[in-house]
């Protein structure tokens, strides 16, 4: 198959939502699954980290975070000048695209695994590191460094937000407990991961179906942006990964991270920090277009890019 089978669950949700089926995933199940996925990814990353020297990762990590910071800085003027969006809206959308989507990453990892393509385990560490800088950049773009930004609350929202707490918490637990300590938990966190992801994607499909209206209202520029931006970010990510010496699989994952747009951490943080931004725009674009685009078309493209760049540099 050209794409990962779990994506079919997303499509089922999308179809059910468009057909106005009475199928509803209870909000609580959605919450529970997202806690599971964040924690499981964190744990996996922590176990990987236990196998590496953290210090050796530092330079690579710094490069990854720095080049990723280009994404919101590129998106903002684009949205502002070409798209004609208000400052707050442009900043908020830029923050969503600068941050990352954990589920898109998980689907890309499954896609690679399904093809037997190896990837560096410590990419999960980059996933965690890429969650939040773009959120801070987004707030700066919206407000400047002025005194009226409630930075205390904004930073608390970002760092005590559930995605960071669960990812970092899982990372630390995995790192402290190590592979043998975590092993009895593998039946839940590893074996069931893909099934839970399928369930979650079903719900994402239902949610995305509800967002298509927002998007239609926002007009074609945003829809175009929501496809062009991940492609551009995917080029940046796969190139950065290749230059940093990652394998083709690793560069694919980094490209996917750069290309993905957040819809868990970013909406919550932007709502508090930049309340005048319209969430229908940022969520409509990231969830209604970029998320399905990455699932259905983006991931193979980033893999092809990673392969191509890798060929050039060898």
């Amino acid at each position: 198959m050209p794409f990962e089978p779990v994506i079919l669950f997303f499509l089922l949700g999308l179809v059910a939502g468009i057909a106005r089926s009475d199928l509803k995933i209870p909000g609580v199940l959605y919450e529970s699954l997202s806690i599971f996925l964040l924690l499981a990814i964190g744990l996996k990353g922590g176990v990987e980290l236990a196998r590496h020297s953290v210090v050796a990762l530092l330079p690579q990590a710094a490069m990854v975070v720095l080049t990723a910071a280009l994404i919101p800085l590129l998106a903002f003027p684009l949205l502002r000048r070409l798209g004609g969006f208000a400052r707050a809206d442009a900043a908020s959308i830029a923050a969503h695209y600068g941050s990352v989507s954990v589920v898109t990453f998980a689907v890309a990892a499954a896609w690679l695994a399904g093809r037997g393509i190896e990837a560096e385990g410590h990419l999960i560490v980059f996933l965690v590191l890429l969650e939040f800088p773009a959120l801070v950049i987004g707030v700066l773009l919206a407000r400047g460094i002025g005194a009226d930004t409630p930075w205390g609350r904004v930073l608390h929202e970002v760092f005590a937000g559930k995605s960071i707490v669960l990812l970092v918490g899982g990372l630390v637990i995995g790192w402290v407990a190590g592979p043998e300590g975590i092993q009895p938990l593998d039946r839940l966190f590893i074996d069931l991961f893909k099934g839970m992801l399928a369930f979650f994607l079903l719900e994402m499909g239902l949610v995305a179906a509800g967002r298509l209206g927002d998007l239609r209202r926002a007009g074609p520029f945003l829809a175009g942006f929501a496809i062009a931006m991940p492609l551009a970010a995917g080029v940046l990510g796969t190139l950065t990964g290749t230059l940093l010496g990652l394998s083709v699989g690793g560069a694919t994952l980094l490209g996917t991270l750069y290309a993905s747009a957040s819809y868990i951490a970013a909406p919550a943080a932007m709502r508090i920090a930049v309340p005048e931004a319209n969430p229908a725009l940022s969520i409509g674009a990231s969830l209604g277009v970029t998320f399905p685009f990455n699932l259905l078309a983006g991931i193979p493209v980033y893999h092809w890019l990673a392969g191509t760049f890798n060929g050039w540099l060898k």
Binding site: K24, I25, G27, Y30, E31, E203, L206, V207, G210, D214, Y263, P267, A268, R271, I272, P275, E276, P279, A280, I283
Partner: protein, 102 residues
């Protein structure tokens, strides 16, 4: 009624769930002695909020309080949240036991 029922205001606020922490801090600061929250969903000027995920969930907050406290809360919420957040509020007269509690 021949019981010591006393008049009191019931202020109901319906708003997006993400405001919960901030809102509760405001209530406390303005002198509300308590509140009750239920999870809700709905539709209004800012579109459908169907609680399918946490970003689209609402809460429904009830506060029993004196009229001046209610007024102060309404003013504060109006000024702080009304422009940018999904929020609706309404006030009713109710009778309570032990009015000194509120």
């Amino acid at each position: 009624m021949n019981m010591p029922h006393a008049a009191c205001k019931l202020l109901t606020v319906i708003c997006e769930a993400g405001l919960e922490n901030d809102l509760l801090r405001d209530l406390e600061r303005l002198g509300a002695t308590g509140y009750t929250i239920t999870d809700a969903r709905g539709r209004g000027a800012r579109g459908v909020r169907n609680a399918a995920w946490s970003e689209s969930a609402n809460i429904r907050v009830e506060v029993l309080c004196s009229e001046p406290t209610a007024e102060a809360i309404v003013q504060r919420l109006k000024q702080r949240y009304y422009a940018n957040y999904a929020m609706v509020l309404f006030m009713a007269d109710v009778a309570v036991l032990r009015v000194e509690k509120f």
